[in-house]
């Protein structure tokens, strides 16, 4: 009886059923798409982060930068610097120093981190920037410029404003502990493309592993040499990033002690990568590390690191989290309201019908059950259409593969630039194809919302129906 009556009523009120179901469907579809976009963006953020921080890094430790420590990069040449040939003086100078905005700190911090409870693994790296300046000036002008300081350019382009020409070549260099596991740290998100990785036996040697993109652009392969701070390093391996961003954290990877020695940052690192024993331990470990290391150190979790991802992926994340969320709530509220209004109006229109049913002995419970049943089925119908619409929209997005740009950086968050300010190094910028995931919890949420919408509408309709006294209901239409 219940099913027969319910289906007949819904069929008879096709227009109302369609309006309520479509409203619910749009809301449900929006919820699914917004959740999928949020999931896709989160994956893209994680992908951007993994290229820099590596897979499995839960926490990073850096030191907030001060202006004095970052300084301005300058090359100084004496009056007799360079070599003169044919009326032209040539200059060539190289520097290896911690990257702009990054502060090195004692490796004792790595020991402290590793000894902290809840820490599964920790490794320290030294992020450096190798910069080579080369240029030439006419000898006739060199006299007046003796002791002068050619200003570096922010790019490595060549000046072309006169007879002089200057060029700057910049390469990121990462010194890492070759005796430690690479399961945590930047190299965890790379695979060996050719050659071999550095091992404990390579400690103190001038050997290097290159990022494959850099190797391609610099035409280097295993066996080639790269020059860092005027020293030749033999390339023993080439690694490729496993993240969607394509590029790994650094152009060149060398043994940590070699990097420390060349840069003059003896027994110092710039970042400590930490893996917690479990995800639930991360907040506690963060607090413990902050306490152990002091306020001068910046301890960031993955959640905090996500905020360092910039580019259109960040914009998409903001849209999904703010606009998408509120739009979903708004449309959902509108759909629920529509369902409630139509249900209450339907009950009012069926006053005589419900009055008659009560007159022949139907209880309030049975009448409310009938009204609520009709509403829930309407909601489920809308939910089913909404799920189909949402899945179709996700499929379309996945087919279109919209590309988002993402840029993630290592380095201290804080300092003069504020959180995520200029205190960065080892920036990885890349395009990531947005892929929207379809997850069971989201589909479950959609169905739950559809049922909830139906129940809310049914509750209001049922409440209206229970207030109908049979005699009054019959009298109102007599």
């Amino acid at each position: 009886m219940f099913i027969t009556y319910l289906t007949r009523e819904l069929k008879n009120r096709r227009r109302q059923t369609s309006i309520v179901a479509i409203g619910m469907a749009l809301a449900i579809a929006l919820v699914i798409v917004v959740n999928a976009v949020a999931g896709g963006v989160k994956t893209a953020q994680a992908s951007a982060l993994s290229s820099v921080y590596g897979v499995g890094t839960d926490i990073t430790v850096t030191q907030a930068t001060t202006t004095s420590s970052s300084g301005t990069q300058q090359f100084r040449f004496g009056a007799g610097a360079g070599s003169t040939s044919g009326g032209t003086r040539s200059f060539n100078s190289a520097q290896l120093r911690t990257a702009r905005g990054v502060t090195a700190f004692a490796t004792t911090a790595v020991t402290k981190v590793a000894a902290t409870g809840g820490v599964k693994a920790a490794t320290g790296v030294l992020s450096l920037q190798s910069t080579t300046f080369s240029g030439r000036t006419p000898t006739q002008s060199s006299g007046s410029g003796a002791g002068g300081t050619p200003q570096t350019r922010p790019t490595d382009g060549t000046s072309a404003g006169g007879p002089s020409s200057f060029g700057i070549d910049s390469t990121s260099v990462l010194g890492y502990d070759v005796s430690a596991s690479t399961a945590v740290g930047p190299l965890s998100s790379t695979t060996l493309k050719s050659g071999r990785m550095l091992t404990a036996a390579d400690t103190g040697k001038n050997l290097a592993v290159l990022d494959s993109d850099y190797a391609t652009s610099a035409s280097k392969k295993v066996g080639s040499t790269v020059t860092i701070d005027g020293k030749a390093f033999t390339v023993v391996g080439i690694v490729k990033s496993t993240s969607a961003t394509g590029a790994s954290a650094s152009n060149v990877y060398i043994p940590l002690d070699t990097a420390q020695k060349l840069s003059g940052e003896t027994a110092k690192v710039t970042t400590v990568y930490v893996q917690a024993t479990s995800a639930s331990q991360i907040p506690a470990v963060q607090t413990a590390l902050q306490t152990a290391l002091g306020a001068s150190m910046t301890v960031n979790t993955q959640a905090g690191l996500a905020s360092t991802v910039t580019g259109s992926v960040s914009t998409a994340a903001t849209l999904a989290q703010n606009l998408g969320l509120w739009l979903s709530i708004l449309v959902l509220a509108a759909a629920f309201l529509l369902a409630v209004l139509f249900t209450v109006s339907g009950v009012t229109r069926r006053t005589r019908e419900f009055g008659t049913l009560k007159a022949i002995g139907w209880t309030n419970r049975r009448v409310v059950g009938q009204v609520a049943g009709e509403s829930v089925v309407q909601g489920l119908l809308g939910g089913a259409i909404g799920v189909a619409l949402g899945l179709a929209a996700i499929e379309v997005v996945n087919l279109l593969h919209p590309t988002l740009t993402a840029s993630a950086s290592t380095g201290a968050a804080g300092g003069p630039g504020g959180p995520g300010g200029f205190a960065r190094v080892a920036t990885s910028a890349a395009s990531i194809a947005l892929s929207l995931p379809i997850t069971a919890p989201v589909l479950g949420l959609a169905v739950a919302l559809a049922i909830l919408g139906g129940l809310i509408a049914g509750a209001f309709g049922g409440w209206r129906a229970t207030r109908l006294r049979p005699a009054a209901a019959l009298r109102s239409v007599a």
Partner: protein, 230 residues
């Protein structure tokens, strides 16, 4: 069967209090055939609703086989309506989306009758009013007389002890009216149930054993001799 004592019923209409019934005393025996007549707004339908446990009086008591309906809760009144009272309305009040058979079955739904028994009893009830061939038709596909027969079948399917009819022929032509009244009388005599009919139609009223008159909420019963003179 019914024992009404000192029944009064007032309604609030905005700031106004409307008196529908005043100090009504009435006894109805099992198997009685009673017609209630009176002016529009005289309280006929109100009295029928009180007899049908659709409403409670403002004052007085309504005993139905010893149970006071005036003191019963909503659930108890619902049970009384579901098991003991059959209603027939002027406008038929059928559910427009359900077939004749399904409309009749709605009266058995609150009794917890199983599906098979419900279908069988509804089919028998429809057959008893001569509509077995129209069981699968929607109300909109039936004539007024046929719709009222479906409504009568719905009232009878639960074997009630009393059948209350509010202007059952008010929306019917004369021939159909005669058919419906004859049907109700046949059912009453066959099943021995009590039949109370509210009507404006003197022809219908004259068919009853007892004729009650309601004027401004005051009930009077015409003597049998006067009824015969009509």
């Amino acid at each position: 069967m019914y024992q009404l004592t000192g029944i009064g019923k007032t309604y609030k209409q905005g700031p106004r209090i409307v008196t529908a019934l005043k100090d009504v005393d009435l006894t109805i025996e099992d198997g009685d055939h009673i017609a209630i007549q009176g002016q529009t707004g005289g309280g006929k339908s109100t009295l029928l609703q009180l007899l049908g446990a659709l409403d409670r009086p403002s004052t007085g008591s309504i005993l139905l086989d010893g149970k006071d309906l005036a003191r019963s809760g909503d659930a108890e009144l619902g049970r009384v309506r579901a098991r003991r009272i059959g209603f027939v309305f002027q406008g038929f009040n059928l559910i427009p989306t359900l077939t004749a058979q399904e409309n009749v079955e709605t009266a058995l739904a609150p009794l917890g009758v199983g599906t098979a028994a419900r279908r069988r009893r509804a089919a028998e009830a429809l057959a008893s009013v001569g509509l077995d061939s129209r069981a699968s038709h929607l109300p909109s596909e039936l004539s007024g007389g046929q719709q009222q027969r479906v409504a009568i079948a719905r009232a009878l399917v639960k074997d009630p002890s009393v059948l209350l009819a509010d202007e059952p022929t008010g929306a019917l032509d004369e021939d159909t009216r005669n058919d419906i009244i004859e049907l109700l009388e046949r059912i009453r005599s066959e099943r021995g149930i009590t039949l109370v009919v509210v009507t404006h139609d003197s022809w219908v009223a004259r068919r009853a054993q007892r004729r009650l008159q309601l004027r401004a909420g005051v009930l009077t019963e015409r003597p049998v001799a006067a009824q015969r003179v009509g």
